[in-house]
C-alpha cells in the first residue's frame, strides 16, 4: 500500500495540481480572463447572494392560456359559422367550453362537421399522437367545443418558450451582464439578473404583457353613461393610467395591433419637448392604419397597452406614411421602457411573478467578507488543532486538506458552478469532514502500532483499514448531498454542490495525497516508532 511508482506519484501530483490551478482563471481580472484561450475560460460564478442581483420566477397561468384559447375558439366558431352561412344563437363561453345553439336543426350536421375542423392535432399537423386539442361534442342543436387538458398543456409549454424569447429581448435592452433566463418545469421561467440595482424596473418590464392595440373611441355615448347603463355591443370601457383614472368607451375591434410594428424608439416631441415613443408599421400595418385613419378623420382613436388607455388623440388627417408617435405624459425612462416593450413584442399570455429574491450589492459584499473571515478562522483553528494533536502528521493532514479545498474550487471553476453563501458553508463543513478522514487514518495507525506491529506495517495497515471506512461513510454522506442537489433549488443546491464535490475530493486526497506524503516520509526516515 505504501509503495508508489514514480509514474503514479507523478500522476497524482499532476492531477491535483491541474485541478487546483483551474481556480486561477477565476481570480484573474476580467480583461486578462477574456484574452485567455476558450478552454481556459472557465470560472466560478458568484451567486446572486454574493454579488447582488435579482432572481425572479415567473409563471404562465394555465387558466389564462385556457381563457385565451376559449376566446380564440369563440371567434373562430363565429367565423366558421358565418362562412358556412349557418344561423345560430347564443355563441358564448360557458365555464371551460364554448357553446353555440344552431337555429335550424337541419343545419346542425353541417355545422358540426365544420366546427370539428377547429380541433387541431396536438403538436402540429405532423404529430403522430393523434390527440386533438379540442373536444367537439353535439347534443341535439347545441354544439360544445372544449379545449382538452393536453391541448392546454401543450399550449402552456409553447407560451413559455415564446415568453422566454420575448423576455430575453427585453432584458438584453437593460444592458446588464450575463442575465440568465431558463425554463423551470412546465410552466415557469426563472430569470436571474446579476448586479441590478433596481429590481422594480426589471419587474415592471417582465410583468407587462405589452399587448398594444389601436382602436377607435366610441362617441355614441359618454363613458359615464356606458358605465351606468349598458355599453353598446362591441365596445368596452377602459381606463387611462392617470390618477384618478379616466374612463373611455372603446370599440373592441382592433384597427392595428402591436404585431405589425417593426420598430419603436424613444424620442422627444419637437414642439412640446415631452418624451414620446415613435413607431413604424410593417406594410400590412401601414396599409390598415392608412385605411382606418382615412375613414375616420375627426374621430379620436385610442392607443391601448394591456387594457390601459395610454392616449386618445383625434385623427386630424390620414396617416399614410406607416409611422406615428405615442405621447402620454411619460418620463424619459417610461418612454424608454415602452419602446423596449414594443420592440420586444407582446407576451402570448400574462406572466405572474411567483417568487422574487433580490440582494443588494452591499449585502452581497458583506456576505463575502463574512464567509471569508469564517473560512479563514475555521480553517486556521482546525489546522492548529491538527498540528497540536498529530505533529508532523498533522502538517501532512493540513497540506492535504488545503489542497483538497483548492481542488473543490478548481472543480467548481471547471463546472462553471455557482458559488453561494451556503456553498461557502459547504466548504467549511468539508474541511471538517476532510480532517476526519485523516483522523480516521492516524488513529487506526496508532491502534495497529499498539497491537504490536512495526511502524511501517502499522502505517500500511492503518491506511488500508481506514480507507474502507472512509469510503463507506463518505458514500452515505454523498447520497445525502446528491438528494439535496436533486430536490434543492437556490441556496440548498448551492450547498449541495460544494458539499458533494468536497466529499469526492476528500476521498481522492485521502486515498492519494495523504498516503503519498506518508509514503515519502516513511521511505526517507525509515521510522522505528510510529510518530503519532
Amino acid at each position: 500500500m505504501l509503495y508508489f511508482s514514480k509514474w503514479k506519484a507523478f500522476a497524482i501530483l499532476a492531477v491535483s495540481a491541474i485541478i487546483c490551478l483551474m481556480v486561477v482563471p477565476s481570480l484573474l481580472p476580467p480583461k486578462v480572463y477574456d484574452s485567455l484561450p476558450g478552454f481556459l475560460q472557465r470560472k466560478i460564478v458568484l451567486g446572486l447572494d454574493l454579488q447582488g442581483g435579482s432572481y425572479i420566477v415567473l409563471q404562465v397561468d394555465s387558466n389564462e392560456v385556457r381563457t385565451a384559447r376559449l376566446e380564440q375558439l369563440r371567434d373562430d366558431a363565429r367565423r366558421v359559422l358565418r362562412d358556412a352561412k349557418v344561423g345560430y344563437t347564443g355563441l358564448n363561453i360557458q365555464g371551460n367550453s364554448v357553446q353555440v345553439r344552431i337555429r335550424d336543426g337541419q343545419d346542425a350536421d353541417a355545422a358540426f362537421t365544420q366546427l370539428r375542423t377547429l380541433a387541431q392535432p396536438i403538436g402540429g399537423a405532423l404529430s403522430t399522437s393523434g390527440q386533438l386539442d379540442t373536444d367537439v361534442a353535439r347534443d341535439g342543436n347545441v354544439i360544445t367545443l372544449t379545449p382538452s387538458t393536453a391541448g392546454v398543456q401543450s399550449r402552456t409549454i409553447q407560451a413559455v418558450s415564446q415568453s422566454i424569447e420575448i423576455i430575453r429581448k427585453r432584458i438584453d435592452q437593460l444592458g446588464t451582464t450575463e442575465p440568465s433566463i431558463q425554463r423551470q418545469g412546465a410552466d415557469r421561467i426563472q430569470v436571474q439578473v446579476p448586479g441590478l440595482q433596481d429590481p422594480s424596473r426589471l419587474k415592471a418590464l417582465l410583468g407587462q404583457t405589452a399587448k398594444l392595440t389601436f382602436r377607435l373611441v366610441d362617441n355614441s355615448m359618454t363613458a359615464q353613461q356606458a358605465l351606468q347603463g349598458r355599453p353598446p355591443a362591441g365596445t368596452e370601457v377602459l381606463y387611462s393610467q392617470d390618477n384618478p383614472p379616466v374612463p373611455y368607451l372603446i370599440e373592441q375591434r382592433v384597427l392595428v395591433a402591436g404585431e405589425d410594428l417593426t420598430d419603436a424608439q424613444p424620442g422627444f416631441d419637437p414642439q412640446t419637448r415631452e418624451p414620446i415613443v415613435t413607431f413604424r408599421f410593417n406594410t400590412n400595418g401601414a396599409r390598415r392604419f392608412a385605411e382606418a385613419t382615412q375613414a375616420n378623420v375627426g374621430r379620436p382613436f385610442a392607443i391601448i397597452l394591456d387594457n390601459h388607455v395610454i392616449s386618445a388623440p383625434v385623427i386630424r388627417e390620414p396617416i399614410l406614411g406607416g409611422s406615428g408617435q405615442i405621447s402620454g405624459n411619460f418620463t424619459v425612462q417610461q418612454a424608454n421602457d415602452l419602446a423596449i416593450l414594443l420592440r420586444a413584442g407582446a407576451l402570448p399570455v400574462p406572466l405572474q411573478v411567483v417568487e422574487e429574491r433580490t440582494v443588494g450589492p452591499g449585502l452581497g459584499a458583506d456576505s463575502i467578507r463574512a464567509g471569508l473571515i469564517a473560512s479563514i478562522v475555521g480553517a486556521s483553528a482546525v489546522a492548529l488543532f491538527m498540528i497540536a494533536t498529530y505533529g508532523l502528521f498533522g502538517v501532512i493532514a493540513v497540506v492535504a486538506v488545503a489542497i483538497n479545498v483548492g481542488m473543490i474550487f478548481g472543480v467548481l471553476a471547471m463546472l462553471g458552478a455557482t458559488l453561494t453563501l451556503p456553498g461557502i458553508a459547504g466548504v467549511v463543513l468539508t474541511v471538517g469532514i476532510a480532517v476526519d478522514s485523516n483522523v480516521l487514518i492516524y488513529e487506526r495507525i496508532r491502534e495497529e502500532a499498539r497491537a504490536g506491529r512495526s511502524a511501517i506495517s502499522a502505517i500500511d495497515a492503518g491506511f488500508t483499514r481506514a480507507l474502507a471506512t472512509i469510503l463507506d461513510s463518505n458514500i452515505t454522506t454523498f447520497i445525502a448531498a446528491a438528494v439535496l442537489f436533486y430536490i434543492g433549488s437556490g441556496p440548498v443546491r448551492g450547498f449541495a454542490i460544494t458539499f458533494g464535490i468536497g466529499i469526492i475530493t476528500t476521498v481522492f486526497t485521502a486515498f492519494t495525497l495523504t498516503r503519498l506524503m506518508a509514503a515519502v516520509w516513511v521511505r526517507w526516515r525509515r521510522p522505528q516508532r510510529v510518530p503519532i
Binding site: 420566477v57 409563471q59 422594480s200 405572474q352 411573478v353 411567483v354 417568487e355 422574487e356 429574491r357 440582494v359 449585502l363 458583506d366 456576505s367 463574512a370 473571515i373 469564517a374 473560512s375 478562522v377 475555521g378 483553528a381 488543532f385 497540536a388 494533536t389 505533529g391 453563501l421 451556503p422 458553508a425 467549511v428 474541511v431 471538517g432 469532514i433 480532517v435 476526519d436 483522523v439 480516521l440 488513529e443 496508532r446 499498539r450 483499514r465 474502507a468 463507506d472 461513510s473 463518505n474 458514500i475 452515505t476 454522506t477 447520497i479 445525502a480 448531498a481 438528494v483 439535496l484 430536490i487 434543492g488 433549488s489 441556496p491 440548498v492 449541495a496 458539499f499 510518530p531 503519532i532
Partner: protein, 319 residues
C-alpha cells in the same frame, strides 16, 4: 510527536450500560421535541409560509424604529414583524402572505417602499408567492424522506439489515430532536434549514457508519465475545477518533456561527446543535446499543458464517 492527547489510549467505558439511561433520556427528549413541534410549531420562514421579507438599512443613525412601525402599520397589511438587526441601522421587515394571490404579494414591496420613502438602502427583498411556498415545503419533506430511503438501501447492501434499520432509527431520532430544538427556540425554518437537516442526517450517519464499520470488523474477528463487550470495545477503540473529529468539526462550525454572518446564522446554529450534540451522542449511545435489540449477536453471525460455508468469509478480508 503527539502534543495533545485528549483521549487516553486505553479507555474502557461501559457504554452499553449507559443505554439504561440514554434510551429513556432519548425517549423523553423525543417526546418533548414532538410536543414542542405540535404545540409551538415551527417558525416557518417565508420560503414555506409565503409572504414578503425586506432588509432595509437606514444610513447614519437615521433609524427610528417606532417611526418605521407606525408607517408600516398604517398600510394595514395584516401581520407585520419589524425587527432591528445588527445594530447598524438595519431592520428586518416581514409581511405575512396577503390574501389575493400572487399579484397581492408583489404589491407589498411597492407599498412598503412608498411608505418608507427616500434615503433607505434595500439590502434584501424576498417575495414568495403562495404556490411556490407550498411546493418548496413539499419538496423539502419529500427530499428528507428520499434521502433517508436512499441511505437505507445503500446500508442494507453494504451491511446487515439490522445495521440499516439501526442507522435509520438513529437518523430519525436526530431529525426529531433537531426539529424539536428548532421549534423550542423558534429558529427560522426555511430552505436553508432543510439543507441543515439533511447535512446533520448525513453527518450523523457518517459517524454511525464509522462505528458500525468497526463493529462489523470485530464481529468477524471475535466470534465468541459477548455482544455487549464487543460493542463497548468497538466504541472505545474509535473513541479517540470520535472526539478529535468532533473537536475539528465544532471548530469549523463555531467559526461559521461567530463570523459567518447573519445570512447563514440559523443554518450554522442548527448544524451546531445537530452535528455536535445530537449526532455524536446518537451514534454512540443510541445507534450502537440498538444493535443489541435488533438481534445482532456474535453467535448468530458466527452461525451464519458457518452456514454460508468458507467462501462467505472471503467476501471481505483486508490485506
Amino acid at each position: 510527536m503527539r502534543l495533545l492527547r485528549i483521549v487516553p489510549d486505553d479507555t474502557n467505558f461501559d457504554f452499553m450500560r449507559f443505554r439504561r439511561i440514554s434510551f429513556p433520556i432519548s425517549a423523553v427528549l423525543s417526546i418533548v421535541a414532538l410536543v414542542a413541534f405540535l404545540t409551538l410549531g415551527l417558525n416557518f420562514g417565508i420560503d414555506f409560509k409565503g409572504g414578503t421579507l425586506l432588509e432595509v438599512r437606514y444610513p447614519n443613525n437615521t433609524l427610528n424604529i417606532g417611526d418605521v412601525r407606525s408607517k408600516l402599520e398604517a398600510l394595514e397589511l395584516g401581520e407585520v414583524q419589524i425587527q432591528e438587526i445588527g445594530g447598524d441601522g438595519e431592520v428586518l421587515i416581514r409581511v405575512a402572505q396577503q390574501p389575493g394571490g400572487e399579484q397581492a404579494q408583489q404589491a407589498v414591496v411597492g407599498k412598503v417602499r412608498t411608505a418608507l420613502g427616500e434615503g433607505v438602502e434595500y439590502r434584501r427583498v424576498e417575495v414568495v408567492g403562495p404556490r411556490v411556498s407550498q411546493e418548496l415545503l413539499s419538496y423539502g419533506i419529500v427530499g428528507l424522506m428520499l434521502a433517508v430511503f436512499c441511505i437505507l438501501i445503500y446500508l442494507w447492501f453494504r451491511f446487515e439489515w439490522q445495521f440499516a434499520l439501526g442507522a435509520s432509527i438513529a437518523n430519525f431520532h436526530d431529525i426529531v430532536l433537531t426539529i424539536g430544538f428548532m421549534s423550542i427556540f423558534q429558529i427560522d425554518f426555511d430552505l436553508t434549514s432543510v439543507a441543515a437537516l439533511l447535512t446533520i442526517l448525513g453527518y450523523s450517519l457518517n459517524d454511525t457508519i464509522v462505528i458500525y464499520d468497526r463493529i462489523r470488523e470485530m464481529l468477524r474477528r471475535y466470534k465468541k465475545m459477548p455482544t455487549d463487550e464487543l460493542l463497548n470495545h468497538s466504541i472505545n477503540s474509535t473513541l479517540s477518533r470520535s472526539v478529535i473529529t468532533h473537536v475539528t468539526v465544532t471548530l469549523a462550525l463555531l467559526a461559521l456561527v461567530l463570523f459567518g454572518g447573519r445570512a447563514i446564522h440559523s443554518f450554522s446554529v442548527t448544524m451546531m446543535f445537530g452535528v455536535v450534540l445530537v449526532g455524536t451522542y446518537t451514534s454512540i449511545f443510541i445507534a450502537s446499543p440498538l444493535l443489541i435489540y435488533l438481534g445482532v449477536t456474535t453467535r448468530t453471525m458466527a452461525e451464519k458464517a458457518e452456514a454460508a460455508g468458507p467462501n462467505a468469509k472471503a467476501e471481505r478480508i483486508t490485506p
